[in-house]
Symmetry: C2
Subunit: 404 residues, 2 copies
């Protein structure tokens, strides 16, 4: 696997662009991705009962051959009643007419404020204008990654190359966070493109497996959005023999896709609203994977622990406490807790017994940006990793008046 | 029911006091309650897998006749290994020796920092000193209520009188919040005393029912403590015929107990760490009570909504969003959402359709201290009310460095 600098236009046959169409005051707010040829597609969507109009559209459309995707930021088109559904369809119809397909071959995503109908005159004109700017140079892909941002502080992109059956296959991706991020999933949009030839079934299988251990293992604030979507488009233009079963090529593709989803998911956690630190919580020795997942996620979701990490306070009791209410079964008297960073590591609880520790060393460890919390149990071989961020004054500020 | 100014010493035969024994720098940190005669007792405890030593002790002891309770703040005696269990037992033993009973007749509660063993020399001397101060005057009960506070900004007390079988029965209570408060239950300690004669079974039944709809319906930050405890002691000194079945007297007693638990629970939410507003979320017309409970709790637990209320921003989409990920089933297209306060009310979503609303009126409504959010569904007759508070800069500040 060869990690490259790139984005959604890195794979062959994809064009993209981002553009400021006027939904936000001055920032870019629309991105379009179009493939030269129709793609097999796969998607993972929010499990929130309240699904935004574009999520409802994509869930029924993603099984078709897909030509392109329109994304707007600034307005989530969520909780917008029947008008919202019509607006999504009209959005798809517009890009369809420009690309010579029907609306059912176009996916739509929206992110931003909830409960306000889309200004469709701006959207429709915006699609015309953005379509005219499409291209396959790296800067076009970068502009698309910028255009999907809401409260993100940086654009999130990743790309890798692998060799499949003697052909170079490229996978590129972009994502946006950064608040309302929680398992199953974030207010999180992620778009992955690849020129790999892979069947719809195998693409779906690979994406679901990767999302399960990456995007579904990050938390910023415990809120699960109405709009969360991960889409993956595969246009087959690398020319490899189509991956249609769980053979070696599939594993190779899945490993590369996992890299992309993990990198983008970690960026979303790292760039959580107001965050100053990335927290990686790892559980080993749990009864089973499900228990390990619950504990890891509970720890990165704990407001109390997140505030302690912001304050660089080694309040490890909050780790054990969050494990305790996670719903997982375990023996608290057999838990070992270690805090780590590039500045060292320190054991804080040893098999259920608190360790008298060096506060200066703890402070030094917690002064780093990336904080690793290891929870070592003795129940079985269940393992899981979750990512989150600290809780800061800026989180409150950002969300205290998001609409203005 | 006659609401009176009072506390845990209001019922006949209870003495209490609070005292600064040196666990905290200068504030009161120990409270003792003793009854003249042994009490029937009932308790509700945290469902966290990690239970602090005193919780483990109380769970096995609460079924005995109870003479008194020792409470310390400043140290939770949680995650303290086997030493913690021994320290709790020694604490009980000490008050037992002073009151002429055995350790099994004494309940113990602790609240404060997790993971540090109790300084037992200070605790044991503190019990001697505090015991010497016990009394049944109102100021003694007030001092006890102060002594159990951690980050609380005010002491929480309540008392009522009712008539049972021609006798005046009094119920008094005190509680402490105020962070790490979440269903099942808060880092929340609550002590209720009554001179009512009531069987252990009926006391238990009444307490569980009241806690279910009050303390288990508040949330400050979604963290569930290792120490949460509600205890109720009934010494029978009012002289009424013992309540031993679900007759009229029982309902009267339960109604009065409900008032006490509701008032104390709401105070805990209102005094949530850093809170500037109390949020009451009410669901009506849900499929059933369980669904209504889930939705109401999800809304008061949403960091995004809590930050919006702090910012006085009528971001009602976050209400629908939190209902959507609550785990409850409902039709989003049939939901009506109303925000209310003493300054008026405003409908923001009408049966699934967003309402264009007057932002000035919304701002005026949200400028009040008590904010009421009504969610009206059309699925059935399930109802529930939950209480929470806003998320503020001060929450982050308080929890960023709690230990120092």
């Amino acid at each position: 696997m060869n990690i490259i600098t790139g984005n959604v236009v890195s794979p062959k046959g994809f064009k993209a662009c981002g553009n400021a169409i006027g939904l936000k005051k001055s920032k870019k707010d629309m991105a379009i991705i179009v493939s030269d040829v129709p793609c097999n597609a796969a998607g993972c969507f929010t499990t929130n009962v309240v699904k935004a109009a574009p999520v409802q559209w994509d869930m029924k459309t993603v099984g078709n051959k897909i030509k392109g995707v329109v994304v707007n930021s600034g307005n989530a088109n969520a909780c917008t009643g029947k008008q919202g559904l019509k607006d999504t369809e009209d959005t798809a119809e517009k890009l369809a007419s420009l690309t010579g397909v029907s609306a059912e071959n176009i996916l739509v995503c929206s992110t931003g404020v909830i409960g306000v109908n889309l200004p469709m005159d701006i959207i429709l004109k915006g699609i015309d204008d953005t379509f005219a700017l499409l291209g396959d140079s790296a800067d076009k892909g970068d502009m698309a990654a910028e255009a999907i941002m809401t409260t993100d502080t940086y654009a999130k992109k990743a790309a890798v190359e692998i060799e499949v059956g003697g052909k170079t296959v490229t996978i590129g991706g972009m994502a946006k966070g950064s608040g309302m991020i929680n398992p199953n999933m974030a207010t999180m949009l992620c778009f992955i493109t690849t020129d790999c030839a892979i069947s719809k079934e195998m693409l779906n299988k690979a994406l679901k497996s990767c999302v399960e251990d990456t995007f579904n293992m990050i938390s910023v604030d415990g809120d699960m959005s109405t709009n969360d979507t991960v889409l993956c488009l595969a246009n087959g233009m690398a020319g490899n023999a189509e991956i249609d079963g769980e053979k070696e090529d599939f594993e190779k593709f899945k490993e590369a896709l996992f890299y992309i989803t993990k990198k983008l998911a970690m960026s979303c956690a790292d760039d959580g609203e107001g965050a100053t630190k990335l927290i990686e919580a790892k559980v080993t020795g749990a009864k089973n994977k499900e228990n390990a997942r619950k504990m890891a996620l509970s720890v990165v979701s704990s407001s109390l622990l997140k505030a302690a990490i912001f304050g660089e306070d080694a309040n490890w009791g909050r780790v054990l406490c969050a494990m305790g209410y996670s719903g997982a079964e375990f023996d608290p008297m057999a838990v070992t807790i270690v805090f780590r960073s590039e500045n060292g590591d320190i054991k804080l609880m040893d098999k259920g017994t608190p360790v008298v520790f060096d506060e200066d060393l703890a402070a030094k460890i917690l002064s780093a940006h990336n904080i690793y919390i290891d929870m070592i149990l003795e129940e079985g071989d269940g393992e899981a990793v979750a990512w989150g961020c600290d809780l800061t004054y800026d989180y409150v500020k950002i969300n205290g008046d998001y609409r203005s």
